[in-house]
Symmetry: C2
DNA sequence: CGCCCTTACGCAAGCGCTTGCGTTAACTCA
DNA sequence: TGAGTTAACGCAAGCGCTTGCGTAAGGGCG
């Protein structure tokens, strides 16, 4: 591979001049500029990023840490993020963490070892304190899908309370009063926030939400099935299910149908996330849209801004709003 | 961040010694070794990958180029690949190419600029000649999902002919004789290979495959619907559909059902790829398994072997086999 | 016309690491 | 015991780039 030296020799200038032409900083005559550019084209020169990084202590890399890139939700993060990154001439690093703190830490370390300061973290396992500490250490760290007050300007998140509320309100508006919630058993905040949102909707409607209407599970398709069975076997009556995510919702639908119930005629189901398969399944899933792709791309922009223009104005809060996507898994109950 | 120098100072040795202890090459007393290791721990030292790369001209990065990382199929490549890469202490770069030659080239260039020699390419747009040229230039380039004779040992691929044949044979074995093929209109070889495989099965069964039984489309869900409409409107009779991929298959199922046909009672459908949503949709999709995750991880191993041990023995061919996954979208036809 | 300021470029140090070679001291063995 | 080995480490160059500083040439101005 040709080096800056080679280009300099060809253009009959010093390496510093080539470097300046390349970066557009500094002054030079248009004559020199064209000489350099010609040499670059002629030699098919491509700067060595490692040398650049070493010399300038700057790196054009954004790293994504998500539980598992092959899950549809996280795939969108990587995809939306990559597009935004590429638009800024940044390259994209990824790491699967499998919700494991050690893996997450290891990923961060290795990204840092690359000189990568732009890290988008969708963490399930760090505590708020850990995140704050990390954010203070890493200028370009952006937390996706979570809100931590002390580093609010570094968090790109969804209003989960609102989302839960919207979902519940939608069911209530469709005449449902006996609603079961299939939630996700984890310490992180999303599930409880969505439940809280639902509680608000219930309270507003003068309804109450008995504790045994909430089933916690592991958030996968099979867990949706499992939860429905548990619900059905408990003898509890319900006309609608509010699921923590689309996976649970789909599992619930399948199990419901398997056990002879019709969806939505007998039981309505609403999901969360609006993953692409929501319109594949039968019935097509009514769900709450989580604009994760946009959020990922926003997070990248934010991270780059944070590192490239540390003094630039940054919104204090980066909050995204969920929205209802009506399809066919919720039935209007006539009184 | 602490540097090698800092570690050396703390351990009272030269930087070369630290470097040697780190890499395990060269000789040193265990006493020196522990001194160095203690210093490393004490300072929480992490080598600067850019400096390492620059000095050694070696880099622990594997780059994946796929059309779009958020598509389920390609997500599996990144995920399986990342896991294999991490096992070798390699980091993972990704790039979306959107089936665009320029983007693919650009991605390769930028990976190379990082010093990354391990590239896994799932290319839709390069010609065989281009791939050969690239493979000759880049030691660690591995082609995924395609076979090019001249660089056979660099191709990790699926027996698509066999896959098409298996799918057709499965339908035939279930009594179907009027089979429509919903294929993918692209210059690349997969679709035609699968059709060829189907032809073999037809020929073996003494059946023939009229040209107007094959509909070409763009390979997405909507295209499955579109193709079914085209088929239905042409008045052609068929009892089964053999789809190029699961997306088309799902779209076909949906449209069939929409137009009043029952799947599989009226029309059977078989897909290809065995993506995770195949068991979500209704009916659950019978399909051909494409072990892409395993292939991706294999490709990474191969690439690393190619660059780290250029003289090691490498299988001449890396061929994976598809297999039928029986679910409920194909009905046995009684004579 | 001499002075100063700017413009346009070159010089060279240095980013943090690897590695070939050199050096020292300990060790082997006839 | 002295020549030759070898083990264990240090020296320093150099990977390809950036960038602060220096400087020569050109231009403006009184």
């Amino acid at each position: 591979m040709p080096t800056l030296q080679d280009v300099a020799k060809h253009a009959q200038v010093s390496t510093s001049t080539v470097s300046r032409v390349l970066s557009g900083k500094g002054k030079f005559t248009t004559e020199v500029q064209t000489r350099v550019q010609n040499a670059i084209k002629l030699l098919d020169y491509q700067p060595n990023s490692n040398a650049q990084a070493l010399a300038s202590n700057r790196v054009s890399l954004v790293g994504f840490i998500t539980p598992s890139i092959s899950a549809p939700f996280y795939g969108q993060i990587a995809s939306g993020g990559e597009i935004a990154a590429r638009a800024h001439k940044y390259r994209t690093l990824i790491a699967n963490s499998f919700r494991n703190t050690d893996e997450e830490l290891e990923a961060i370390r290795s990204f840092q070892a690359q000189g990568c300061k732009n890290i988008i973290l969708h963490s399930m396992s760090f505590t708020d304190e850990q995140l704050i500490e990390l954010a203070n250490k890493i200028d370009g760290l952006v937390i996706l899908g979570r809100f931590v007050e002390q580093i609010a300007n570094r968090c790109v998140w969804l209003d989960n309370v609102k989302g839960g509320q919207m979902a519940a309100e939608y069911l209530i508006a469709n005449g449902h009063e006996d609603i079961a919630i299939l939630s996700y058993a984890q310490t992180q905040c999303d599930p409880s926030q969505r439940i809280n949102g639902a509680r608000i909707a219930f309270a507003n409607a003068g309804l109450n939400l008995p504790q045994d209407s909430i089933i916690f599970n592991q958030g996968q398709i099979a867990d949706g099935s499992w939860s429905v069975n548990k619900l059905l076997d408990s003898g509890k009556h319900f006309s609608a299910i509010l699921a923590y995510n689309d996976l649970i919702a789909v599992g619930a639908c399948k199990e419901l149908i398997k056990r002879g119930y019709k969806v939505p005629e007998d039981v309505s189901v609403i999901g969360f996330d609006n993953l692409f398969f929501a319109e594949i399944c039968t019935p097509e899933l009514t769900t709450v849209n989580y604009p994760i792709k946009e959020m990922a791309s926003y997070a990248v922009e934010l991270s780059i801004k944070l590192t490239e223009q540390p003094d630039a104005y940054v919104e204090r809060t980066h909050l995204f709003m969920p929205s209802i996507v009506e399809r066919s898994s919720v039935k209007r109950l006539s009184k």
